[in-house]
Symmetry: D2
Subunit: 453 residues, 4 copies
């Protein structure tokens, strides 16, 4: 149950479909889990770009009339998670600009590690920044590039930025998709039923619009979509994959396939590995829903201990602004999660979650289970201790807030008031996500502090 | 996945707590699954009743300021499911009235089978009806009773009505809870941490407000809450229990305990029974989320076939008014449910759901699994064929729309395009919900057509 | 500028027009000045009544889709002014009821003086009241009448009530309009272009829908609208006219004709009379907009002193919830009214308003003019001192809040800080509104305390 | 009654007041008539700028909580009129940017005539434009200026732009106000009660916040507001006044003083001049409210023909989306304006309006008066024929839509179906606005086509 680490965005691009913005809309709906704060779509009708973006869920931002104003056969879209508390809509995407070659719009999933330097350099040369988004850097770099053609400028621009970026760029007639050399964030290519194309952060967007998976956009690859042509591929960077392993642990939707593997399957294997390296005698395996479900199933299958939905999640949850009374302790967790008392009572429970960030939610869950009568609560985490913040597009608390950066596993166990606590180790995690790959393929910095330089 | 049978309401009453309306609010939130169309609360401050009711989810209807106007130490609340398409808020509850003894408000879960006769008789005597709710009958019967005291009038009134009713009635200083003689709909009594009391349709409301379960309000029982006294019990009717067995099958929240038994446990046992009477060779047991989860777990445990979350439910679903393109078939189901292709592909799948109403949703699910590559799809339903409509408070389609009323199981199997289809039989269902009880304790009319006369 | 006395409602009825609810909608828009809190329409399609009512201005309550659900060729409508601070929509009109003869809906403009006795008597006989509106009495009286036919029952019912009422009643096939014997509140009959009929509180509703004025509904008259027939008239009461003279002073729209005379003309004559009985040497005549405009024009014409729009009204005014700073004195008035400094400066100003209720607003206006540089401010009021509250459908402060009930004219002059103050006297007021009528035709209770017994 | 020519904006700046954003809010409310589409405020707290801007009226965009986030002792604000039909909030002001000297925000009233060239030049140098507003040019020019200090850069930037601009610029500690050399659009300086300063498009904003008028910002002047200092003045351009004369005719609020003269007084004099040059025998002088009121008063005073409010304006008007029936002709005008039939009937009416743009509204008004029974309708316009579009900040239809550009006065008279039609001539207009000034002081391009080169 995550309130502490959040994927910042999802992107989608549709090329060559007469209902392009509508397809972008449904795709964004499928990607809503990657960002609920704002949504936006830009379309291109050959002459002009049209953009609508607004705070709120995809379904609330758009209606039929709005989608109709987003005319044209290509469209890009974005959903945004944001920490910003203010009212500004300026930080929603797509970012649109008119520049010397015409008009363009960009959507971006990721985080640039040299954003500040790039921004400072641009500002020194007289650029102005109207938002707080990294994406604005890209617009400037493309506009200011001395190259003649847009494609050359995009190459020019992305070579100056570092960090994580899965980009989709729309001009009046073309669409471009780029992924950083490490391929931190996912980006997949699919075929629409009518012959057009889709690129999206996760494959779960494909199913809804009837698209079929072709392949991932490669790390370091630029894909160019142009009318009447197959997508052309240019290798901008030598690929050195460092896929975000946390996409498997928590972010991606379980029905997606990212970095070449089923997310659900990866999570289930993590649970199996966890059962192997951290077995415990108990009566039940219970997931913390929804994140812990696949790994709990894996743990249960491997250990032979029965799997039970011992904790229920209430899906009518929204934000309440009603102050609870003194007596309603842990209300925030209880409004979301509630125990199956008759299942838990008197039982030794293995509770499986995907990660522990600050530890406070885990403690509330353990307490809830004990109040429900669990005789023992053994917490099993399907990833290694989260010790380091992410600089590649995930919103993480600072290191001093990460419990595993400041306490030993035993101390954490005491803090969350569990009878035992065990994490998956890095090696087992890597085995789970792709047995035949060695470590280098994934970014595990949030567990190891080993950042790409 | 139910779009066809729906519980119509939930009720709650809080007595003797200084934040009574706040507790009613959080309780209604926990009961939101029983009705999402409208919500309302009446409170009593000793002198006057205060009522707020409106269309929308509990969280949207109330805010801190509104709850503060609902002052007093007792409160009753209601969430409503409604088929009415109009804009009228008049049909929300609580129903409030001034009458010769002062003021009262009533909330009602259930359905009166003699509502029309009672209404006609009242109208003949000059009563006017301003809403379409059965509850208005009760207000009239109480107001027109020749008895002197409110409690006598309530007894008088409920003796004239027939059918299903779990009522909570609020006067300026007292609260009353009544259940019909058959106890069709659930109603439980709990103790608040401060010594006050709560009655609610399901026990899942208790946990959130820190209440502890005391016992069910008995069929035919009237409970009177009065200041400075223990709740007093009056037996109005000789109890002849006919609890709605569909509460176990689908309506109640799995973490509730209704009619003396854990809902989750009952559902899991249904799955186990189903595995015994309708085994099939397969690779996976997959629930239709969320309803089918506990019975699928039971089926998997009994059969030894692995349990997998082969279908994902998207919880960001709301109503979209965007027309899909021609290519987006079965969009409505696909926006809610999506298959784990890597899990399903090439596998023989047992898919477990709680019931089949019209058959169209089931067919979409089977097709979705086949499109995802399932080699076989065996549908298992954890209740008997739904052949008859409910007259006791559940919104069901008419008999001609109920597929099981018009087709044999084999015909249904063909219709939904499954490789095999099996239902739980009535006997096994009854075993699941309470092994030591005989049939008479439950109303199984929706499976058998045996209505109480 | 009135914040203190407010007309409570407007009513409209449309009979025999295929767009009946649409005509009711536009009529209510024209009557919006009589009530801004809630709006509602009921229509009858021959078989069934349809009702929509909601808080808010007419334009916000209805849209095309809603009007379409209000099908049928007859419709009645209501706009409501309300003092009630709560959220209840129950007190909006039309009031709808099912009763022994079928369905009916009622709209009511006025106030019943024996409402409490009627209500108590009804409650003693077992009636329940779900709202706080007088109108509910009527529904009950009609429903409980021992007469057989609706028309007899309406006659029966209105004979039991006292006070002010302009009613329009809708059944499934007929419409009825009734006015109390005194004709306190206006109600006029018009002809629709297609041959159908309209009744409305003011004739300004006629123009918008293309209707032509036929005549007023008479005091004590019942009009029956039935398909294929001319409206039939029944004299229920011997008419003893006591028309609300304040309709001329302030309530009615200047482009309406009420009680047989143009409102604008009446107001202008009041100004002329005022100039005759309270002349003063000055440079300018300035109205307090919008209410004081016609009488200021009359005053200027009679006196020969130039008329100037020396005070501007800001029509973007709404409710602000922003706290002003200490320095922003009289912000509430200043956001609505502002002086033409260059016109006012150094001038002796006659400021004309329709009435003084509490005196605080008048004081703010005088101060504002003096701050703008007026050398003298002479206040002239186009009605007599308001000394008594209204019991016939106008929301007035209690007597202790009415400045003229507690101070002499000189004291009021001192209080409002004017250089002189004069009111129109009763005789001149009566002359203004209809020269050939004697006093008895009008209710002047708010100026004289002479209430009808 | 204008639906065709609209002032595009208003600006305000507050310096050195602890409730700076609150004062900006109330000032914008007073300036609401200059733009109703969007509103925005930026404040500076010494370290940082805060901006909130949104579609809607000032009162809807802000609430107490939002104003509190706009902390600091200086603030600038903007209300916007826009023709843009899309959903983009990007085109609201203030425009905010981070640049090499820190942060700034700009509000702009006017229109740059060389915007496209400036923009093209900037784009050629690699600038990107994220909005469609001229204002973005300024931000770029300031950011890219080679000068070291902000004040030098502002001077640098405004020297490169041409056209109409009344600007207010906010940095973290200072505020700047600039007006173009011609002083097209108004901008006045006032003193706050606490010693701070206000600049605003119109003086009507001063009264509400208790400020007193000091003087106009001069054409070509730059005012610098700095802590602890008097405002410093720099003459950037040699002033060559060309004040927009249409501010007097229609845009400015009558209680404002612009370009050194009372707007109300100017309008009244126009009416007097009109009576001199275009007299006609008639019974009544009637204004088209609200615009025609002061000139109708002037006309009546000069001619001796009685002034009457023969047309009423309904201020509850909003946008309705309800389709009228066939019978409801001219509904759009009739919902806003309605005739005083008893005043008009049988009378020869002089109807006074400020201008005729397309002619269709004027025709509807004439027809309405004739339907109300006017025996003759003489239209008098208090400005010369509008023959040419504005390029200095007013939204006008293109020349082919301007009736006076395409028809003679007699043809227009026939078109609007009036009995006679007369305009004020240019000379008389100039006399009205300032008798001792010669033509050159004002821009009369919309009447003459004489644009500044």
């Amino acid at each position: 149950m995550h309130e502490n680490m959040n994927e910042k965005c999802a992107v989608v691009g549709i090329y060559n479909h007469e209902a392009a913005s509508k397809l972008a809309y449904f795709s964004l709906h499928a990607l809503q889990h990657r960002g609920q704060e704002a949504a936006g779509i830009s379309s291109a009708d050959g002459n002009k770009l049209h953009t609508i973006k607004k705070r709120g869920l995809v379904m609330r931002v758009f209606d039929e009339a709005k989608l109709q104003t987003l005319s044209g056969t290509s469209a890009i879209g974005h959903t945004r998670y944001s920490t910003a508390g203010d009212d500004s809509i300026l930080d929603a995407q797509p970012v649109f600009a008119r520049y010397d070659l015409g008009e363009m719009a960009i959507v971006h999933n990721g985080n640039l590690t040299n954003a500040q330097e790039v921004r400072d350099a641009l500002i020194k040369k007289g650029a102005i920044f109207q938002t707080f988004m990294d994406t604005e850097n890209l617009i400037h770099l493309i506009a200011k590039s001395s190259k003649e053609k847009l494609i050359e400028r995009i190459i020019d621009a992305v070579q100056r930025i570092e960090g994580a970026f899965s980009l989709v760029i729309l001009s009046r007639t073309k669409m471009f998709a780029v992924r950083d050399r490490h391929g931190f964030r996912p980006l997949s290519l699919g075929q629409l039923p009518n012959g057009g194309y889709i690129v999206a952060s996760e494959t779960c967007a494909f199913d809804l619009v009837g698209a079929t998976f072709i392949r991932d956009v490669e790390p370091g690859e630029l894909l160019i979509f142009e009318e009447g042509k197959e997508p052309q591929s240019i290798k901008i960077f030598e690929p050195t994959p460092k896929h975000c392993i946390f996409e498997y642990v928590y972010f991606a939707r379980p029905d997606s396939s990212v970095f070449g593997q089923s997310v659900y399957q990866a999570r289930k294997t993590m649970g199996q590995e966890l059962a192997k390296i951290a077995p415990v005698e108990a009566d039940l395996v219970v997931p913390v829903p929804d994140g812990g479900v696949p790994s709990a199933i894996g743990y249960a299958q491997e250990s032979g201990i029965p799997y039970e939905m011992g904790i229920m999640r209430n899906h009518y949850i929204g934000r309440t602004f009603i102050e609870p009374t003194q007596e309603m302790r842990d209300l925030k967790v209880k409004m979301k999660l509630s125990p199956m008392i008759d299942i838990i009572k008197g039982k030794r429970v293995i509770v499986v979650d995907d990660s522990i960030v600050r530890g406070t939610t885990s403690r509330r869950i353990v307490r809830m289970l004990k109040e429900a009568g669990a005789s023992e609560v053994h917490m099993r985490i399907s990833s290694p201790p989260t010790t380091d913040p992410c600089f590649y597009g995930v919103d993480t608390p600072s290191k001093d807030k990460l419990i595993a950066a400041n306490m030993s596993t035993q101390e954490i166990c005491d803090f969350v008031e569990a009878d035992s606590l065990a994490y998956l180790d890095e090696e087992a995690l890597l085995r789970s996500v792709n047995s035949d790959m060695h470590e280098e393929k994934y970014c595990t910095a949030c567990f190891t502090g080993k950042y790409i330089v």
